[in-house]
């Protein structure tokens, strides 16, 4: 058997890809998107809280943020997912049964928040001190100045790093399969893996990989476009232009 034929059988078995495609679209893709979107939202909110705590002048707010970041950044993701997903499930079973998704999302979000918190913190700290000073000089309080002036600038500076983190999160969402999933709960990787085991070739996993790329690659380009637009500013605001030229008509 020549090499090409072996590779072809292993990775490009169109029949097994075709067979798994509907399930991958209807179940796997949907579940991966749910896991990733929920973790991105929760991880970003928690990450912002961790960042703001980490930047606080109060030590009792700064220290917990630092300890939190050290722990969740220092542990392997799979370990955290298993500890939270399996460890807390006897407690949370009363609320949503044996469904591993809520705890999986919680674990992924807690891990992401440690990284996202550091990304936000570095972005916020990179904003020139004069910006907050100018806001305070106008009469804004510290929190309002941070919220309206400093944080938006800091976040914009770290958008590419933030999207890298989102992409990592989308990929890491596959780890929830360790928590044991029902057939309807399987995400892209698990469906690919199950089909690969049944068919005896890796083509379904390659298909799962293509789906991951379909999600992650456009995301990178989207953020690059958004980043460029923010740097250059929006096209002239028509409403403002109208007001400016109102007298000249």
């Amino acid at each position: 058997m020549d090499i090409w034929s072996t590779l072809n059988d292993t990775f490009l078995d169109w029949e097994s890809m075709k067979a798994v495609l509907p399930e991958m679209l209807k179940v796997g893709l949907v579940n991966t998107l749910i896991l990733a979107a929920a973790s991105v939202v929760l991880g970003t909110v928690l990450g912002m809280i961790v960042a703001v705590m980490g930047l606080s002048r109060r030590r009792w707010l700064r220290w917990p943020a630092k300890v939190y970041t050290d722990i969740f950044r220092g542990l392997p993701a799979i370990l955290t997912i298993l500890l939270i997903g399996q460890g807390l499930s006897p407690i949370t079973r009363h609320w949503w049964g044996p469904n591993p998704y809520p705890l999986g999302i919680l674990a992924l979000s807690l891990i992401a928040a440690a990284y996202i918190g550091e990304i936000f913190r570095s972005g916020i700290q990179s904003v020139e001190k004069g910006q907050l000073e100018a806001a305070r000089a106008l009469g804004f309080g510290y929190s309002m100045g941070m919220r309206l002036v400093v944080i938006p600038q800091g976040v914009r500076r770290v958008l590419p790093a933030l999207v890298n983190q989102f992409i990592a999160l989308i990929k890491e969402s596959s780890l929830v399969y360790f928590l044991g999933l029902l057939a309807s709960q399987r995400e892209l990787f698990r469906i690919g893996q199950d089909a690969a085991a049944t068919n005896g070739n890796l083509s379904p996993l390659l298909l799962a990989g293509i789906f991951y790329l379909i999600i992650t690659v456009p995301l990178t380009h989207l953020v690059n476009w958004f980043d460029k637009r923010l740097r250059e500013g929006r096209p002239a605001d028509l409403e403002v232009e109208e007001l400016v030229h109102a007298d000249h008509r």
């Binding site: 100018a134 305070r136 106008l138 309080g141 500013g233 232009e241």
Partner: protein
């Protein structure tokens, strides 16, 4: 410049002290600026001029002394509310780069003065027209020259209808050809009756525009008086030495 000053107030600083750790930066500064007059503060680097401005609007809290605005002590009032009454212009402009020129001015009007979007835009455009930059309303600060940015920063401060304006070396970061425009605007503002405290290295401006000039060194006002007297008949040797270096 049309009359734009609605409520200029007097400013009186007495015995202002301020330290960074053990380093005493202000050691009992006295300065009285009558309503509608301009005081220029001159002095060598590190003499405490910029710190004095920041103590005046309580960006830095004085350790001792009193600040009176319109005859009333403001040390016990809410510092955020005090700052809405005192405009400040910085050396590096400090415009918000993520917002358009118009939004830089409307942001405090909407959020602090609770003006409607339309009301704030109208007030902002009025100020932009006064500083000759109405056409730049939708531009980003990064696309303007340094002089234009500083004029927007002045418009942003004026839009809050301040009772006093503080200028912290407002032209030091500008290219020489842009300095004149900003100084001209500040002179117009002084003519219009604004109470102003101007920290500056522009001795020509201090001489022509100031009603009084205060020379600071080592955290105190060493000598103060009308510009003619200070520049031609300085009493303290330290001021004479300073003037011989900068003139």
């Amino acid at each position: 410049m049309p009359t734009i000053v609605e409520s200029a107030a007097s400013l009186e600083l007495t015995g202002i002290e301020l330290a960074f750790g053990k380093n005493k930066v202000l050691r009992g500064v006295d300065l009285a600026v009558p309503a509608g007059s301009t005081a220029c503060v001159i002095g060598p680097s590190g003499s405490g001029k910029s710190t004095l401005l920041r103590a005046t609007n309580r960006l830095l809290e004085p350790a001792a002394g009193d600040i009176k605005l319109g005859g009333e002590s403001v040390l016990k009032s809410n510092p955020d509310e005090l700052r809405r009454r005192i405009g400040m212009v910085f050396q590096h402009f400090n415009l918000f780069p993520h917002k358009s020129v118009l939004d830089n001015i409307t942001l405090p009007l909407r959020k602090l003065k609770k003006l409607t979007k339309e009301g704030a835009a109208e007030a902002a455009l009025e100020q932009l027209e006064l500083v000759g930059l109405k056409e730049k309303a939708s531009a980003r600060p990064g696309n303007l020259s340094g002089g234009q940015q500083q004029r927007v920063a002045i418009a942003r401060a004026l839009a809050m209808k301040p009772e006093v304006m503080l200028f912290d070396e407002a032209t030091s970061a500008l290219d020489p050809e842009l300095v004149k425009g900003v100084l001209g605007l500040m002179a117009d503002l002084a003519d219009a009756g604004m109470t102003m405290v101007v920290v500056t290295h522009e001795m020509g401006f201090a001489r022509q525009v100031a009603d009084q000039v205060a020379f600071m060194d080592h955290g105190v006002v060493v000598e103060a008086g009308p510009p003619d007297k200070l520049f031609t008949a300085a009493e303290s040797p330290r001021l004479r030495q300073f003037l011989s270096q900068v003139l």
